[in-house]
């Protein structure tokens, strides 16, 4: 084994033990904090809470659909469940958890003390968090909790004219609009902060072409948030005008247009799915190289592909509208532009494979989730390409096939990478390692559950099962498939609870992590775990894309190769 002479360097080391503090003092500290790490953790905490809530809603839906003619929940409650599930997962789990990691990691990775605007950062977090609370407040009103309150029931896409006063009396749709509006304000604030931070706060030597790929991807994502969330916010305000002040933007009876809403929504909605997946790519870009013991293959191609995806994804939104009847010209355009996305995406997949190729792979739990991600993302992309052909989409649009497609990405790729990110960065965030053995249980249970649910979900879709139905007849041939799908959901739920348990247990009992448990190469691993308020006692200077490699291997630094 290695008997290299160890090198010494000034790594930050702050005393970990601090006297126990009073609950109120701690609470005060978190409420008033402007530290990007604490804000990041709060984002992650509240997203995890909503993950459990929205997951619970999914389980209720799957119980309802497990057998034909089920009366477990009422049709009305079912509509509310899928609306709340979708809205929560996108706006109050996906976005905040990704922004949480971004908040935590971006300043550390570029060697900065904090975000560019620390107070704006706190504000953005709180606005989003209050938005989530407002959304769930809706469960308390109207016809009581058992009829599921007056929670919104118009789908996460809130298609007009369902949202018009006539079809949606009471306040349920307003809860949806206002909650999403609030979260949008927060997201734009955080995106602005991340852009300003990466542009202005990089440490000496951290040129753009030395930035960790994670930071690059967060930069692209944040830019996309500006472009995508603004039209959504505009549409929300128009919807409020329709509902409160009697304007007719989306009211078809009075000359408004329901398709206008669809354009507004999907101009946001399609980029949104890339806003969610790019951070997942970002995690893969950091985790796969470290556990393959190779630098990422094709860094410039990766940057170019990410920026390319950012641009192309702005020109494909109407592939969600093939079934509206836009005409042949528009269908052809959106079919082809959607297919073009396969090019940069393919480049990314090949580069990850080339990074694994010939590497010395360590199958930690983080790496296992990443490998699952690669495989599942590929399949999800393939069903996406299938759907992008408009004639095919006329058959399968609004069927369970679509549900299977997007859950393949949202769960199979994004959630898998979020889990990977937890296993990878938890030691940095808490100073303790997550238990790998429990982690393996989590991985395998979740993998089995995922494939049971979503592989089988494609088939009832092809057999004609529409989405958003609350029950079905027994003679359709979907029975067994739905049963399997539902049972998979339970595996996923159990695995997720195991994961939550692991996080709590490891926080108290997990082995001490030390500054750099994975022998990694980016700056966040050069400071103690958890990092002190000021991140780095001395602001680092970097000379290559892998500053810690250079520190550890002075005889063979990366600077010679770049």
């Amino acid at each position: 084994m290695a008997t290299q002479s160890p090198v010494t360097a000034v790594l930050d080391k702050t005393q970990a033990s601090q006297p126990p503090r009073l609950f109120l003092a701690t609470l005060h500290e978190w409420v008033t904090t402007v530290d990007h790490k604490k804000i990041g953790l709060m984002y992650i905490g509240y997203a995890l809470f909503f993950l459990v809530v929205a997951g619970f809603e999914a389980i209720l839906m799957r119980i309802q659909l497990a057998i034909p003619n089920n009366t477990f929940v009422s049709p009305q409650a079912f509509n509310r469940l899928f609306t709340m599930h979708g809205t929560t997962m996108v706006f109050f789990v996906g976005m905040p958890i990704l922004f949480g990691f971004g908040n935590y990691l971006v300043p550390l990775m570029i060697g900065a003390r904090d975000m560019a605007f620390p107070r704006l950062n706190a504000f953005s977090f709180w606005v989003s968090a209050f938005g989530g609370s407002l959304l769930y407040f809706s469960y308390l009103g109207g016809d009581g909790l058992y009829g599921a309150g007056s929670a919104p029931d118009v789908g996460w896409f809130a298609y007009a004219p369902l949202t018009a006063r006539v079809f949606s009396p009471g306040h349920s749709t307003d809860y949806w609009t206002l909650a999403v509006l609030l979260s949008g304000i927060g997201n734009i604030g955080t995106a602005l902060n991340i852009v300003a931070t990466t542009i202005c706060m990089r440490c000496p030597g951290m040129k753009l072409n030395r930035m960790p790929l994670l930071v690059w991807l967060y930069l692209v994502t944040s830019m996309m948030v500006f472009v995508a969330v603004s039209p959504l916010t505009a549409a929300q305000i128009m919807l409020l005008l329709d509902r409160y002040l009697g304007s007719h933007f989306f009211d078809t009876q009075a000359g408004g247009s329901a398709v206008l809403w669809m354009h507004f929504f999907w101009i946001f909605g399609h980029p949104e799915v890339y806003i969610l997946v790019l951070p997942a790519f970002a995690f893969a870009n950091e985790i796969i190289p470290v556990f393959s013991r190779k630098a990422i293959f094709g860094y410039p191609a990766m940057v170019a592909a990410s920026v390319g995806i950012g641009f192309i994804s702005l020109s494909v939104w109407a592939h969600h509208m093939f079934t509206v009847g836009m005409g042949a010209g528009a269908n052809t355009f959106f079919t082809l532009s959607t297919m073009v996305i396969a090019v940069p995406t393919g480049i990314k997949i090949f580069n990850w494979l080339a990074t694994l190729w010939g590497g010395k792979i360590r199958y930690t739990v983080a790496m296992m989730f990443s490998v699952g991600f690669l495989f599942q993302f590929l399949i999800a992309g393939l069903t996406g390409i299938m759907l992008s052909a408009s004639p095919f989409d006329w058959q399968l649009g609004n069927s369970y096939f679509v549900v299977a497609h997007f859950h393949y990405v949202l769960v199979g790729a994004i959630l898998f990478m979020i889990f990977a990110a937890f296993y990878y960065w938890y030691p940095k965030m808490t100073g303790h390692m997550l238990d790998e053995k429990l982690g393996k249980w989590h991985f395998w249970l979740f993998l089995i559950g995922f494939h049971l649910t979503f592989d089988f979900m494609h088939i009832p879709g092809i057999l004609g099962m529409p989405r958003r139905i609350y029950t079905y007849e027994a003679d359709r041939g979907w029975m067994l498939l739905n049963m399997i799908t539902s049972s998979g959901a339970f595996f996923q739920a159990i695995a997720t609870l195991l994961f939550v348990y692991n996080m709590v247990w490891s926080y108290f009992k997990g082995p001490i992590a030390g500054a750099d448990p994975w022998d990694a190469w980016t700056l966040e691993w050069s400071t103690v775990s958890p990092p002190p308020a000021y991140n780095f006692a001395t602001i680092p200077t970097v000379e290559s894309r892998r500053p810690l490699w250079d520190l550890k291997h002075p005889e063979d630094p990366d600077t010679r190769y770049e």
Partner: protein, 287 residues
Amino acid sequence: MQPETGHNETGVIQLPSPTAWPMVLALGLSLILAGMVTHIVIAILGLLLTVAGSVGWFLQVLPHEAHEGSLVHTEEVEVVSSRTLIERLPTDEMHRKILPITTFQISTGIKGGIAGGIAMTVPAGIFSVLRYHSFWYATNLLAAGGFVSWASASNAFLGQFHLQGAIAALIIHGLTSLLVGLLYGAMLPMFPRYPILTAGLVAPLLFTGILYSALGIVSPILNQRIDWFYFVLSQIAFGLVCGWVVNLHEKVRTPQFRALPFAIRAGLHTDLGTPKPEPSVREDESR
């Protein structure tokens, strides 16, 4: 903005001081909106909090941003790597391989794509002239990818010259060739060997796959009118010419080359630092 960057002599670093005002402002705004769905009183409370939050926040940053010192503790730590190498075999400059060692540039693939795209038109044109006595037939058929109604137009119509058709065909064909070239160029570094084979096989496969899936599904009528024998012939023309063009280009070395001593890079004959034949043991860290 960041107050200061350097390490303070006194062992204290200034950070923005904690404040609850951003949270109060956020709560205020949320309550104003919540007032729309609950009661006006909530909105009024929200308005009060919004004003208080704004004033409080402004006072935090004006006229001077509030800061708080944070104590610094540092200690020297050992940097260790879990690199598992026994003794490095006779150290040679190539010990850290960056795979592959030589490769093509991405632009090489694009050039090959363009050349192949031109070559493809030859079999397509021959087919068009032999079967329909007009070069424009194939052109217009391709253009039908853009003008959907053309797919079911008469043979006579497709045999005539249409400026629109020629332009549309040029754009469609040009873009597709460029795209395949780009994709191919991005993949070349992963398969740097045998470009003739890769191009002769992989590029036609890619091209056929993309066109077949696109055409076959976007326009099934169009699909029926295409003569797949000639179609495959033109794919092969694409592949062979693409491969040939790629072969004309020099391979470039990947970055480990830059770590070599200047003398070697310059091609001088000297025994200083001559790279040894590659050791057959497994490299511990490749890039």
